[in-house]
């Protein structure tokens, strides 16, 4: 039985969505797993139905590393829920960790305590984005590394490709490099340098632009963590602005309101199609273990999917695949 360590306290809304998500995950899956909840038992024990109690271990801990704290501070907080959850994986008592807490802290700790996959220079956070054709694309890095070198981006491509192949079961993912134009001559110094390295990768399809992320033309999109963060936040900003403007405009007219009611299912479907919760969390790729980083605002569905994502991860050989491919290309260069 797979053992998943879960920081029960880290999210923006406290332990309940996280614990509820864990229960959902147990309910909806035949093949059970062992959930190790790290947190204050008194705060959530009442949410655990008796029939699932046997699948759940609780590690009592009430030090929560705050969202507003500086990530580096977590290294001294050995008694915090996130530190303990990650060390469960490090010490072999869990197979993976799921956290909706401070993402910078989770990333730093996971990298330092679990170590990196052989040959990996920099772990990266990979995020799923919905596309207009119903597929999904994986963008990495989206925040772990603000300043990158070409060899880092090259490795991100290898890691993203491995995720698509091993977890999403897509045999031939197409890799694109995020740039300000499709032509090889476009890009900044970093991407032009990266372009040269990526030519060695058969899956590399060239530069892709910001709009290509959503048209389904590329599976893995590689960028530095600064640019990836801008991309992610901009997408969220546009989507929520459109939704807000529609709502505002509807309120002004009874006709439009009726129309909106008739369109309810369309909006619901759209919401589902754009919903990050459908994907779970963002895997931290390149660490010698498995850490799924969830949105601080994760609802139970997102947590449930993140747990399933963690199980798929540990049941695959993605880390072996990454190590092998990095070794192969290092030998070539």
């Amino acid at each position: 039985m797979r053992r998943i360590a879960i920081d029960a306290m880290g999210g923006d809304f406290g332990p309940l969505p996280i614990v509820d998500g864990t229960i959902h995950a147990l309910k909806k899956r035949k093949e059970k797993f062992n959930a190790i909840l790290v947190g204050r038992e008194a705060a959530f024990a009442h949410r655990i139905p008796r029939r699932f109690a046997k699948y759940i271990d609780i590690i009592e801990c009430d030090d929560v590393f705050g969202m507003e704290e500086s990530a580096t501070g977590v290294l001294k907080r050995k008694q915090s829920t996130i530190y303990k959850a990650i060390d469960l994986v490090r010490d072999g008592q869990a197979d993976a960790v799921v956290s909706a807490g401070h993402s910078g802290a989770t990333m730093s700790l996971a990298t330092l305590r679990m170590g990196r996959v052989d040959g990996v220079l920099r772990p990266a956070i990979a995020t799923m984005m919905p596309t207009q054709v119903g597929s999904r694309s994986l963008v990495l890095d989206v925040g772990a590394n603000t300043d990158c070198k070409a060899e880092h981006l090259f490795q991100f491509a290898i890691m993203g490709e491995a995720y698509f192949r091993d977890i999403l079961k897509e045999e031939n993912p197409r890799v694109g490099l995020l740039a300000n134009g499709e032509e090889e001559s476009k890009g900044n110094e970093l991407t032009k340098e990266t372009f040269k390295l990526l030519k060695a990768l058969p899956s590399f399809k060239g530069n892709v632009e910001g709009s290509d992320i959503f048209n389904g033309s590329t599976d893995v999109i590689v960028c530095d963590g600064f640019t990836g963060n801008i991309l992610l936040k901009t997408s969220e900003g546009v989507a929520s602005s459109i939704s807000l403007l529609i709502k505002k405009n509807i309120k002004r007219s009874p006709t439009a309101l009726t129309g909106a009611l008739l369109m309810r299912r369309v909006f619901k479907l759209l919401k589902k199609q754009m919903d990050y919760a459908e994907y779970g969390g963002a895997p931290l790729l390149g660490i010698d273990g498995c850490a799924i980083i969830c949105h601080g605002k994760s609802n139970p569905k997102a947590i449930k999917n993140a747990i399933y994502q963690a199980i798929s991860f540990v049941e695959s050989d993605i880390n072996g695949d990454i190590a092998k491919n990095i070794a192969q290309y290092s030998a070539k260069n």
Copy 2:
């Protein structure tokens, strides 16, 4: 009477939307201007009503610099419409140029032929973005400079501020630096360095994230041209994906279709609120003159607004303002 040189041939859809936009601009404005259309007269002369002919000069020219050509190639194309239109400004025969042609070529030529405002290191392309509260924000650079130094970004802030003050008549624009987090500690090497310089600017409000562009919290958003391009294209991609998904989902259900009909005015309003054509074009700031760069797909409304934008620009003292402010801060540093 203001004289506006217009590259009549440069856009993706040939001369008609451009010439029609010019006519619209003349029609809707009491205070007339002199439009100098550079292009093949036979291709569009039939679109010019006799009563406006006295405001229009045509400079015959049939060499069009193609969208697919490399920007640097334009320097040798002295007989092209864009080269001639820009040289009209350089030679004092026009006050401003409006172009929907190759934006890289327009930018290079305008910079080289008109020169830069005193003290400006790098001209920048500034784009208006709609916000969810009905205001607008100005993002620069969005493509002219893929690799920047902190002092370039600092100057972008000064130029953007001047545009808001002098053209948009907003006395106290708020300046933000695009980064991957609001805290001063967030950012990449470039933005951290820039943050230090920007502290000298009273209008500087700190870092802003990708989502802040649309919430109306900031007026001028500064970034390097690579990041700005990603931001712009990502926004376009998200907006068009949402629109496509809504359309697709509507088609599947007669109820939803009825709803959409009732919501028609809402969607129309939304389209207007998000429409780049409302803003005209993107001014190239920091050149010793005025060049408005329009989207290749500009419709007549966008061209009309770009012409009005050019007139406001030449009637202001924005370039004097930019020179003065840059000198002031150079003296301080």
